[in-house]
């Protein structure tokens, strides 16, 4: 997800890394198969604001670089 620009909607195809964070993201509604929109990013490796479902979240590079996304079909 590091390469996704602002104002783009993408579908999550996989999340890797620490199990606890995968679980944390999942229970917040950020999981495989979900569509998310990147609303704002502060630089290439800065924090990112995303929309997942009806909720908005801020997350940093430590999390979003572990999220793989693909174009929505």
């Amino acid at each position: 997800m590091s390469e996704v620009d602002s104002r783009r909607s993408m579908k999550i195809c996989s999340i890797h890394g620490d199990e606890a964070y995968i679980r944390r993201l999942s229970c917040m509604g950020i999981l495989c198969g979900k569509t998310i929109s990147v609303l704002r990013r502060h630089g290439r490796r800065g924090a990112m604001m995303i929309q997942a479902g009806d909720s908005r979240f801020a997350l940093d590079v430590g999390l979003y670089e572990n999220i793989e996304v693909e174009e929505e079909q």
């Binding site: 229970c27 800065g46 604001m49």
Partner: protein, 644 residues
């Protein structure tokens, strides 16, 4: 006999749980802590149809199976309290995510009541929820509420009573469909699939055109440049509000205590129980007054913070400041306690509970006293006008705040690379919808926080004020170096001009008081400390005042007044300043401010650090560590400054 029930309120953060808790419990709530845990829960009671219902509000959480402090508390409360029912509060505008936790609560073997809160927000977003269909699908009771408008509260109370009354005969809910009942652990995907099935028939979505306030505000408030500018501007407004608006209220409180003291002086003769009289005026009124004087600042600060938190802005601050905090090897969320630290370190240290990583939490806790608190402002307000020209007053004050932040940044970096090293916890925070908080909720939040400040800090400060008064009053001198009484009498009978007579009388009185003080335990300690603090440019009087500052930083001013033998310090600020100017240089004044800024935090802060870290070790490290840093920096500044 009154029937007693226990009910637990659980839900995601920002689902309006606290609003419901306040609506249910009214003014009966109190804040309690579980021993050994680090996150607060709230407790209140509800009397209904002759039954007493104890309501426990759990911290906001997303998941029952994770191991953050919030989830630990939630699990512990549910297991230890064995509630009669669990109320799962959900944000109706974000049902799928909120019902994830509900599904976990439904597996606890306890009857669950689902509250569809924020029904108005869901409608605005275009959701139409049929609570009856949802109740049928989930096999649980459901109540619809709009907490902040007090809608649905009566139905909720009735439903709580009804379920409590029937709890012994109710069978716990079942989440799992038959196909999954053989599974030991239900997967996240399966859980979301079940939730999807619940919502399928009960919720319809019709996209509504129109303005989306949250989107529009976020476009501006989270902008990489303008977001920071707006944040800095807002903080300026908050500090101005705290110090400018608070000033007249502080003066009223000061006047009240002065008036009380003067009344006691007037009606209580000095010869009748002089010990008790002095204890009451100087120890108790002086000590308690010293704390209560700052109550307007504290109330205003918490009012502003409660408003900003209520609107949903604070989460955005964590987002826009994440990059800056990362440079300090700290978490984006650390910014909130650090901002609170400018008001008072006690609630600021409590606010570090939101940090998930112990390393980051401990680092934030250790550096928080470096944020120049309101009490330190009294020291700056005394010394800056006394030693620096008016055009430097503002810059000097800003310099003190800046030095605090700079030292905190360096200290945080060092701590994160040594004692508290370890990877940063990834930054993940929900950015809730912007809302206009209700006045009632803001005032309640402000009062709860301020009450805590008064209760925790006030009690410690009161006890130590009395102790310090004792140290500065005993033992009483038996033999003076000269016969002051005879000298005063001779002066009184002399033919000198009245003004000269008064000046000399004042000098004699001050010399006598200095001698009295030097004989007390505080005076002796000051003299004992003198060789150690002399390289910093400090004399024994400053040393004695520094002991006073251990109880509370603002006591430095009062104690400095006593040791300089100036009575009624607050009424005669100018003479104290003049006296200080005669004795010390601007360099010494700067060194005093620097030392007071960095050195050991007040006793209340140390006590809260001990409680929050669960260890005296960290409170002592904070106490002595900061004092050593303050000593070294002040030594360097004084010695280098003396050479210039």
């Amino acid at each position: 006999m009154t029937k007693k029930y226990t009910v637990v309120l659980a839900g995601n953060p920002n689902c309006g749980k606290t609003t419901l808790f306040n609506a249910l419990t009214g003014s009966h709530q109190h804040i309690g802590n579980y021993p050994g845990v680090t996150v607060e829960k709230k407790e209140g009671s509800l009397k209904l149809h002759g039954a007493s219902i104890r309501i426990i509000d759990l911290p906001g959480m997303y998941d029952l199976q994770a191991h953050s402090p919030e989830e630990e508390v939630a699990r512990s409360v549910i297991e230890r309290e064995s509630p009669d029912i669990i109320i799962s509060v959900v944000d109706s505008s974000s049902l799928e995510r909120n019902l994830f936790l509900t599904s976990q609560l439904m597996e606890k073997g306890i009857p669950v009541l689902v509250v569809l809160n924020m029904a108005d927000t869901a409608e605005k977003k275009g959701y139409v929820i049929d609570p009856h269909l949802l109740s049928e699908a989930m096999q649980v009771d459901i109540v619809k509420t709009i907490g902040h408008k007090n809608q649905g509260i009566t139905s909720l109370k009735e439903k709580i009573y009804q379920l409590c009354h029937q709890s012994a005969t109710l069978s716990p809910p079942t989440v799992l469909p038959k196909s999954l009942q053989q599974k030991k652990n239900i997967s996240t995907e399966d859980r979301y699939r079940i939730i999807g099935e619940w919502l399928h028939s009960a919720v319809t979505y019709k996209k509504k055109p129109g303005s989306r306030l949250t989107e529009k505000l976020d476009d501006v408030l989270t902008h990489p440049f303008w977001g920071v500018v707006i944040f800095v501007g807002l903080m300026y407004v908050v500090f101005s509000l705290v110090f400018i608006v608070g000033a007249p209220f502080m003066e009223w409180i000061e006047s009240f205590f002065s008036w009380t003291s003067s009344m006691i002086v007037q009606f209580w003769p000095a010869t009748v129980y002089p010990f008790l009289r002095s204890l009451l005026i100087e120890g108790i009124i002086g000590g308690v007054g010293g704390v209560i004087v700052f109550l307007p600042n504290i109330l205003l600060l918490f009012l502003a913070i409660a408003f900003l938190e209520g609107t949903g802005y604070m989460s955005r601050v964590a987002f826009i400041m994440d990059g800056f905090m990362e440079k300090m090897n700290l978490h984006g969320k650390s910014i909130v306690p650090m901002l609170l630290g400018f008001g008072c370190s006690v609630p600021a240290i409590m606010a570090t509970r939101t940090l998930e990583s112990r390393q980051e939490r401990m680092t934030t806790m250790m550096i928080l006293p470096l944020m120049s608190c309101g009490a330190r402002l009294t020291i700056y307000a005394l010394l800056i006008p006394a030693f620096f020209p008016p055009n430097l007053h503002g810059p000097m004050l800003w310099l003190m705040y800046f030095i605090g932040i700079l030292v905190a940044m360096v200290a945080a970096k060092i701590l994160r690379k040594t004692i508290f090293k370890g990877d940063s916890v990834p930054f993940l925070i929900e950015l809730p919808e912007y809302r206009m908080p209700t006045l009632k909720n803001i005032l309640l939040e402000m009062w709860n926080q301020s009450k805590e400040y008064l209760k925790k800090a006030g009690s410690i400060i009161l006890i130590l004020s009395v102790l310090l008064w004792g140290l500065a009053s005993f033992p009483k001198i038996q033999e003076y170096s000269q016969d002051y009484q005879s000298s005063m009498q001779l002066l009184e009978e002399s033919t000198l001009a009245e003004s000269q007579k008064e000046t000399e009388m004042q000098s004699l009185l001050q010399a006598m008081q200095e001698e009295e003080l030097a004989y007390t335990y505080a005076g002796r300690t000051g003299r004992f400390l003198e060789p150690a603090i002399k390289p910093l440019g400090f004399d024994w009087k400053i040393g004695t005042a520094l002991i006073g500052a251990l109880a509370a930083k603002e006591m430095f001013v009062a104690q400095l007044g006593i040791v300089n033998a100036v009575r009624d310090t607050e009424e005669n600020q100018v003479p104290l300043r003049d006296k200080l100017r005669d004795q010390y240089t601007p360099l010494v004044a700067f060194c005093i401010m620097l030392f007071c800024l960095i050195s050991s935090p007040c006793v209340a802060t140390c006590a809260v650090t001990r409680r929050e870290s669960n260890s005296w070790k960290w409170a002592l490290i904070q106490f002595f560590g900061l004092t050593v840093i303050a000593y070294i920096l002040t030594l360097v500044v004084y010695q280098v400054g003396s050479l210039l």
